[in-house]
């Protein structure tokens, strides 16, 4: 049942020593699950954290923790420096012009909700349209749906082609003067598709339309340059790039951010408060109400340092090799159909198997030590688009190995045997 393995191929697909070294920096990767070595292929849901990031967070708590911004004492100054230092790291990481454009949020979801409120509430209404792609994560759908309920703006769906690429012709045809915003992810978590964000943002800009890019699946893998992409808003999460949960970033263009009303109210986002009048603080603080995720920002900064400490082109190329290898090996599994076969893809493989429900696949794979996600991946409209209820998804990071892909394939073959699946 297994495909013939030529000598040449075996050599080509040997996991490089650099990757094996990297693996050792991630303690969780040497865990066992059901007495099998863990093959963690659920990176699109959340990535794992290297020891260095954990140590930075612990050191922060052991030596520097305090509330930020308001204190005259040493610890408060140190915490503020670390917190603002991390903001500068994020700025450089995404090539933003100015740290005022880097707003800490609790995650991508919070960032997108911020836009839907602070930009949306006052900018759209009846007669206006917001375009949302058919491959969006719920985080980039539900806030717009709720905005539509508040304001009467209409949501229209940019269709996708069978291979999971955005239908750019349909998109262009939809760009009539009623369109106020276009909401698209950089990389689809359900399909792996890498969208032509620069082109999309350019088409928007020509027409005075705001581009809202969900970069949750992109920042940990691609090199993101928000100035080169020239997008209006860009959102992402720490936990999808080897940093902590509880933190995310909203990047925005200054004129937009300047004109927006704050979203959450509280300490730090105001300059002065009386019961009659409140003056908002300047950027980025206007959008950072209350005690921010300080330790998490420091952790995100450490994750960025970690990524910058490696040759990111090498890591990206290696992930692409994992993707090709997975495509090849999984094609050997009887009854398996890929969902999402765009030419430009991140290392995400979604598939269905004839007569076997993904939930059963997931459980059996787990029994073999293979961690994959099954379900709708918070992207129900994608499932509806393909007329399926759910998929099984293996999503890779640079610390995965060719051997783990083999482990996945072997486990899938067991599923086919148990359920008697044939092509």
């Amino acid at each position: 049942m297994s495909a013939p393995v030529t000598k040449q191929r075996a050599t080509h697909y040997e996991t490089p020593g650099r990757i094996l070294d990297i693996r050792r920096e991630f303690p969780i990767l040497s865990r066992k699950v059901q007495e099998k070595p863990l093959a963690y292929l659920d990176n699109a849901a959340s990535t794992q954290m290297p020891s260095k990031v954990m140590e930075t967070i612990t050191a922060y708590h052991e030596f520097h923790h305090s509330n930020v911004h308001r204190g005259v004492h040493q610890l408060s100054q140190e915490a503020s420096d670390l917190y603002e230092g991390a903001r500068e790291k994020v700025r450089r990481f995404i090539h933003a012009r100015d740290t005022r454009q880097v707003i800490y949020t609790s995650g991508t979801t919070a960032a997108l909700n911020l836009i839907a409120h602070s930009w949306g509430n006052s900018r759209v209404g009846k007669g206006d349209t917001i375009l949302v792609s058919n491959m969006e994560h719920h985080a980039n759908i539900v806030p717009w749906y709720m905005l539509a309920k508040r304001t009467g703006v209409q949501i229209k769906v940019i269709p996708i082609l069978d291979d999971g690429t955005l239908d750019m012709d349909a998109f262009e045809a939809m760009l009539d003067p009623s369109v106020k915003a276009v909401c698209v992810n950089h990389v689809s978590n359900a399909l792996g598709t890498v969208n032509p964000v620069r082109t999309i943002a350019g088409m928007c800009r020509e027409r005075g339309i705001v581009s809202v890019i969900d970069g949750a699946q992109a920042v940990g893998h691609l090199k993101v340059d928000v100035q080169e992409l020239d997008v209006d808003f860009y959102a992402f999460s720490g936990h999808k790039m080897h940093g902590p949960t509880g933190i995310g970033i909203l990047y925005g263009k200054l004129p937009l951010l300047n004109e927006m009303e704050p979203f959450l109210g509280g300490g730090d986002m105001i300059l002065s408060v009386s019961f009659d009048n409140i003056t908002w603080n300047d950027l980025p603080f206007k959008f950072e109400a209350g005690t921010p995720p300080i330790a998490q920002a420091v952790g995100l900064g450490a994750a960025i340092d970690y990524l910058n400490g490696h040759d990111r082109t090498f890591l990206y190329d290696y992930e692409q090799q994992l993707l090709s290898y997975a495509n090849e090996r999984l094609a050997e599994v009887p009854g398996l159909t890929f969902i999402g076969t765009a030419p430009q893809k991140a290392a995400i493989v979604s598939f269905v198997m004839k007569d076997v429900h993904p939930h059963d696949i997931g459980t059996i794979l787990d029994g073999e030590g293979v961690a994959v996600r099954t379900g709708q991946h918070c992207a129900e409209p994608v499932m509806d688009r393909y007329g399926i209820s759910s998929t099984t998804r293996a999503s890779m990071a640079f610390y995965n190995t060719f051997e783990e892909i083999d482990q996945l394939r072997d486990a899938l073959l067991k599923v086919t045997e148990l359920f008697d699946v044939t092509d």
Binding site: H357, G375, S390
Partner: protein, 152 residues
């Protein structure tokens, strides 16, 4: 084929069989009771149909829907079990099944659960308990005249 014991326990022959050939997999046109069950975690959806006679005994029962092997087999086996039983007894079995699936009692403690023992493997898999019990929850909801039931 080398499968872990957990997998073998879970996917027993009887479950695989009912999954492949579900019994009473059809719509009843004029049910006395019906409900929709939904497990949003895995997308399982099923409709349960019931016809009770005047003595509150199950005259006919069926289901349709889409789900994993565990939920489909559970629904199928459920229809074969509850047929001709009084609803009080159905509820007692459901309670027992629920306790077994969540590990509160052993599978062999209750003779009524004999034909449901195949599902005892889910106790090691909290995420799958809801698959095994969805059909029963839906049946229970139908008896209570609730129209949509969600487990997760």
């Amino acid at each position: 084929m080398l499968l872990t014991n957990r997998t073998k326990n879970l996917y027993q022959e009887v479950i695989l069989d009912h999954n492949k050939n579900p019994r009473n997999f059809r719509v009843i046109e004029h049910p006395s009771h019906t409900a929709k069950g939904h497990n949003p975690l895995c997308g399982d959806k099923l409709d349960v149909y019931l016809v009770l006679d005047e003595n509150q005994t199950v005259q006919d029962v069926s289901f349709v829907g889409d789900g994993c092997a565990i939920s489909k087999a559970s629904a199928s086996i459920m229809t074969t079990i509850v047929k001709d039983k009084h609803i009080d007894e159905v509820r007692t079995i459901f309670r027992g099944f629920h306790d077994m699936a969540t590990g509160k009692i052993e599978a062999d403690e209750d003779p009524k659960l004999r034909r449901l023992r195949a599902f005892s493997g889910v106790r090691d898999l909290p995420a799958r308990v809801k698959c095994a019990t969805l059909a029963w929850h839906t049946l229970d909801a139908a008896l209570k005249d609730e129209e949509i039931i969600t487990t997760e």
